[in-house]
């Protein structure tokens, strides 16, 4: 997901809002698959960012002169 400026706060807010809608069954079936895919993507984004090493970040920090 090449989304700029996506933060944990934004991602979580969107995830939890959509899940809320699903729980209240406020989504129609046409929207459902789209939303499910989106939420899955956001979850993937958070997981990856929390758990996977970002080479780019490591490189930037390595290049900084302390």
């Amino acid at each position: 997901m090449a989304e700029e400026n996506l933060t944990y706060s934004k991602a979580l807010a969107e995830i939890e809002e959509t899940l809320g809608l699903m729980e209240r069954e406020a989504l129609d079936v046409d929207d459902l698959s789209l939303k499910v895919r989106r939420v899955a993507e956001l979850i993937g984004f958070c997981r990856q960012k929390l758990l996977q090493t970002e080479e780019a970040v490591e490189k930037v920090l390595k290049d900084i002169e302390a």
């Binding site: 979580l12 899940l19 459902l32 939420v39 899955a40 997981r47 758990l51």
Partner: protein
Amino acid sequence: MTQAAGISLLELNQRIRETLKSNLPTALWVRAEIAEFREHRNGHCYLELVEKDPSGDQVVARLRAMIWAYQYRSIKPFFETATGRPLGNGIKVLVQGVVDFQELYGMSFQIRNIDPAYTLGDLEQRRQEVLQRLRSDGVINMNKGQELPLVPQRIAVISSETAAGYGDFIQQLSNNAYGLKFYCKLFPALMQGEQAPSSIISALDRIYAYEAHFDVVVLIRGGGAALDLLCFDDYDLAYHLTQFPLPVITGIGHDRDVSVADMVAHTSAKTPTAVAEFLISGAAAVLERVEAAARLLKTATREQLQGHRQGMDKLAYQTAPLARRLLSDRKYALATLARRLPSLGALFLQQQHQRLMQAVRVLQQAPARQVADGRRELQRASERLAGGSRSALKRAQEGIQMLERANRLNDPVEVLKRGYSMSYSGGKVVKEVAGLQPGEVLETVFRDGRVQSKVIEVKIKE
């Protein structure tokens, strides 16, 4: 006593010694600031005590002092335990001792006891002054206003590289139980002594140049035995911390007073390890929310799909009987219509027939009357004609012609020409099938003749 003879220096010093002894016979409590501080390897401690004027710029009194090794061994831990700080430069002390004067070495204050409460009070007072200044500058809570991201992962660490506390911090972060990823960059600085504030400020300046690459600054003290936290009460350092554009988390490692740096920081933890725990637990909470969302997504999606599928099944289940019922309703209505159609047709024919017969009856009487009317009109017209009104005669003649045309059209013969026929049985017009018997002979009048026919079957409409 001549001026030239004088007294020897030794004699002078002996007199000074005697004078001091008789005038300052017992131990005195003295307030002073430590200007120089040196522990000799023989175990003795040598100090320079000063007093400054109230502005703090000018030294107004100065005296050498010392603590004998056998006393220093107990004074040092006593003071450190009580104040949480070592004896050292810049500390104000209340010490008890005697003035000692030796002819060879001069004057020295020999310290035998110390009152840590005075030092604590003074440090606290200075701390309060620093805090008050930060408050009146309006900056004291500014770093707390910086937004700490939900998961601070890119961490600028200010510490000393060789310090145990730094090692603990890195160890703790990188070996967290959740496999969470953190990125640390060390900006080395002195973490104790007089140079510490400026060294830390310079580290902050270096981080500032790369501000965009970090989420948070962590200030952790090197650890070890040193107790000197005085540098974290420094005004300049505190001021820089308040102004820093990233949130600062301190883990300075105190167990007594909270330092000014701790107070102005965004968040303060007791130890470097506690800072690591804080960061890990925050990120772990987010990870847990994400995993909970993932689980919820799975079940909710499944339930929703199942719900929709059931809805569809139900719909399909309901549709078939509904359609069947609808069809059978229509079929029934059609059949009813079909059954009624012949009788409707007959009814229609019968109504038409009745109207026809009515017309015939009217016609049978009307023409005669109309002709009579016409005659009278003609009579009048011819009378008027006698009076010379030809046009009236003509109108009358036209009227007669019209009436004759109408008469002709309504003539039963004319009606027969239009396709109707009339049947007679026994000389009477047959108006209904009731009463007819199979085998009965009917005479039917058409336009161009008559036929005789035999009734084969009689069907009466319901």
